[in-house]
């Protein structure tokens, strides 16, 4: 029995240390200086909400496709104030899964009050976290979510699966983007413009930012892909980096900012 409790004891030891440090910090900022932001991402194709029911969509080049799976991580969210200072939201890893409607809405808490004019986030998972001890990978990062490569340790950052219906015969559309090693690192940051609006965080209100994520932009960005010749992408490659750069550049757009 004694040895079984060893990891627990170790955790307590670490935790106790953490308590001491966080305890010190808490004394110095006892003012209610934080608020929260409600965050929502709507997965769309152009102006239509994305459905996984076989609906055929039209890409920007006229080709048609259906989607059966569309999910991706958002992490390392940063908020920028008009004076250029940035607040990095700690330890926030969200898996947006079109098949799970609740997954696209979440609340960022303990945000320092202020007026924010910019937002950015990694579409994926930072390399330190994705390489870390699997026993610490809980919640969205759990390898059981099938957003994980068993053959090359790390998360799949974005997964799109479906069918290209404008080809004869139809063609499977398989796009798994991941990888954190040069030269094919797919860790990219999206920074959709707030279009001049300001996200005002106060202790007394819950502002909301609503983004749209347009599937078409995976194939239409700095690199133009034809779906008919899009390669099956299931490991880090030049093509997967191009897709990542495409979705970093243009997939996300800010639809609405509500002060509430």
């Amino acid at each position: 029995m004694k040895n079984r409790s060893f990891p627990t004891l170790l955790a307590f030891l670490l935790t106790t240390t953490a308590v001491i440090f966080s305890g010190c910090k808490r004394d110095s900022d006892s003012q209610p200086t934080v608020g929260a932001i409600s965050f929502e991402v709507k997965n769309v194709v152009d102006t239509q909400d994305l459905a996984l029911d076989g609906t055929a969509y039209t890409a920007t080049n006229g080709e048609t496709f259906t989607v059966s799976t569309f999910e991706y991580y958002i992490s390392n969210i940063k908020l920028t104030k008009s004076d250029g200072t940035t607040y990095a939201v700690p330890a926030e890893y969200r898996l947006i899964n079109t098949a799970k409607p609740d997954s696209n809405r979440f609340t960022l808490r303990n945000i320092p009050v202020g007026s924010y004019t910019g937002v950015s986030f990694i579409v994926g998972v930072d390399s330190t976290t994705t390489k870390s001890d699997p026993l610490a990978l809980a919640g969205a990062l759990n390898p059981a979510n099938s957003m994980y490569w068993a053959w090359s340790t790390g998360h799949i950052f974005l997964k799109l699966e479906g069918t290209v219906t404008s080809t004869r015969p139809n063609k499977a559309l398989t796009c798994h983007i991941g990888g954190y090693r040069a030269p094919y690192s797919a860790i990219v940051t999206a920074a959709p413009s707030l279009n001049g609006a300001t996200l005002v965080v106060r202790a007394s209100q819950l502002p909301k930012i609503t983004l749209a994520a347009d599937v078409r932009k995976l194939f239409d960005g700095p690199t133009k892909f034809a779906l008919s010749s899009f390669p099956t992408t299931m490991m880090p490659s030049a093509a997967s980096v191009q897709v990542a750069n495409n979705y970093a550049a243009g997939m996300f757009s800010v639809k609405q900012i509500q002060a509430n």
Binding site: K2, F12, L13, A18, P134, N145, T153, R181
Partner: protein, 377 residues
């Protein structure tokens, strides 16, 4: 962040009793290292052999425990974890072959589909840096996921495996006994399997006893000549008493690597094409066939490859280019025979026949027994 995982009450308690808790915990940690509880002694392979480097996957990462080990052993041999219910870890990793798959270049997975590489021996995994022939997997615990989820091997998504375990009252009971009540989750599953795979320590061959000056550790004159040859010609890669330096090297199997680029599969670097993890040579007389693709059926073929079969390519390991420009390792027929004699001394019979590592008893595992028996013949 770790703090947030604890219930609020416990956090408050810890905050209040901070100094006392630190002292008590410190004493407990020291105490558990100094005394070896019975539970730990009952788990094989927990010691640090005197002639081995320091463990990479130390005991503290997943403290050996008899009940957790038994659970890991059961999981390792349970074919219900495969999509067709016919393939377990133990199907392709058999104890009598140092957990390699004798007689199979590529092991059949579910529905008879073949794996893309030879099933390697599993031994001394506590000392490994990275897993798979290309080093793609970074930890022993994560290694479980590769064969479990590969469509050509066990073909079971992790979530499906967890659902199967959670639907099985016996597994619920066994996991609860080790990890406490609640659903069986990813960390529990990975930890339990690693209890077994980490226990596969082979450190009691005649060679080990020789270097540790233990009883029954005599080597014959040809074996000693073979050892001297080995040190001179092979230990550049097969280093330390683990017989691997854990590096990735191109040992000249082919001129091009279109089918399997090895380390480059993970790193995407041209300089890594054709490089594969240097395997340990422990129990090597029992782990045939050899190489990542099992192309050599005998050790004699392996030595012949190094003597006169090495193929040139841009990434060929420098140790296989002689100053004269000749490729490979110069080895006369007599030298090859002495090397073979030495390699036989790396066989650890106690490991190959350890009943604690064999399939557990019971009807669910009965069909594995004939396979294991056949492999021993």
């Amino acid at each position: 962040m770790l703090l947030m995982l604890l219930p609020a009450g416990l956090r408050r308690w810890l905050a209040h009793w901070r100094p006392a808790a630190l002292l008590a915990l410190g004493a407990a940690v020291v105490g558990s290292c100094a005394t070896q509880p019975d539970a730990l002694r009952a788990v094989p392979g927990t010691g640090q052999p005197a002639n081995f480097p320091v463990m990479v996957y130390g005991l503290a990462k997943n403290p050996p425990d008899a009940a957790a080990f038994a659970l890991g052993r059961r999981l390792f041999y349970d074919s219900q974890l495969s999509s067709d219910g016919r393939v377990s870890c133990g199907s392709c990793h058999q104890a009598a072959a140092a957990f390699a798959h004798p007689g199979h270049r590529f092991s059949p997975g579910v529905a008879g589909r073949l794996a893309t590489r030879h099933a390697p021996a599993l031994q001394n995994l506590r000392w490994r840096q990275g897993f798979l022939a290309d080093g793609g997997v970074l930890s022993l615990e994560l290694q479980t996921l590769a064969p479990l989820t590969s469509p050509d091997e066990m073909n079971t998504p992790l979530a499906t495996a967890l659902a199967k375990l959670n639907a099985d009252p016996e597994y619920r009971r066994l996991f609860a006994a080790v990890y406490g009540p609640g659903k069986i989750d990813t960390p529990q599953f990975l930890r339990a399997l690693a209890q077994f795979t980490a226990a596969l320590t082979s450190a009691n061959s005649r060679y080990d006893k020789y270097v540790r000056h233990e009883a029954d550790g005599a080597l014959t004159a040809p074996e000693l000549r073979g050892r001297a040859l080995f040190v001179a010609k092979c230990s550049g890669c097969h280093a330390t008493d683990l017989f691997t330096d854990e590096s990735f090297r191109n040992n000249g199997l082919d001129r091009t690597f279109a089918h399997d680029s090895g380390r480059a599969h993970i790193t995407s670097r041209a300089t890594d094409r054709g490089r594969f993890k240097v395997p340990s040579l422990r129990n090597v007389a029992h782990t045939a066939p050899y190489m990542h693709d099992g192309r050599f059926a005998t050790l004699a073929q392996v030595l012949a490859h190094y003597a006169h079969g090495v193929q040139p390519s841009a990434t060929l390991d420098p140790l296989l280019r002689q100053p004269s420009g000749r490729l490979g390792i110069p080895l006369s027929g007599a030298q090859q025979a002495e090397l073979l004699a030495f390699l036989q001394t790396l066989t650890d019979d106690a490991f190959l026949t350890d009943p604690r590592l064999a399939p557990p008893a019971g009807p669910a595992f009965a069909k594995l027994a004939p396979l294991t028996a056949a492999a021993r013949n």
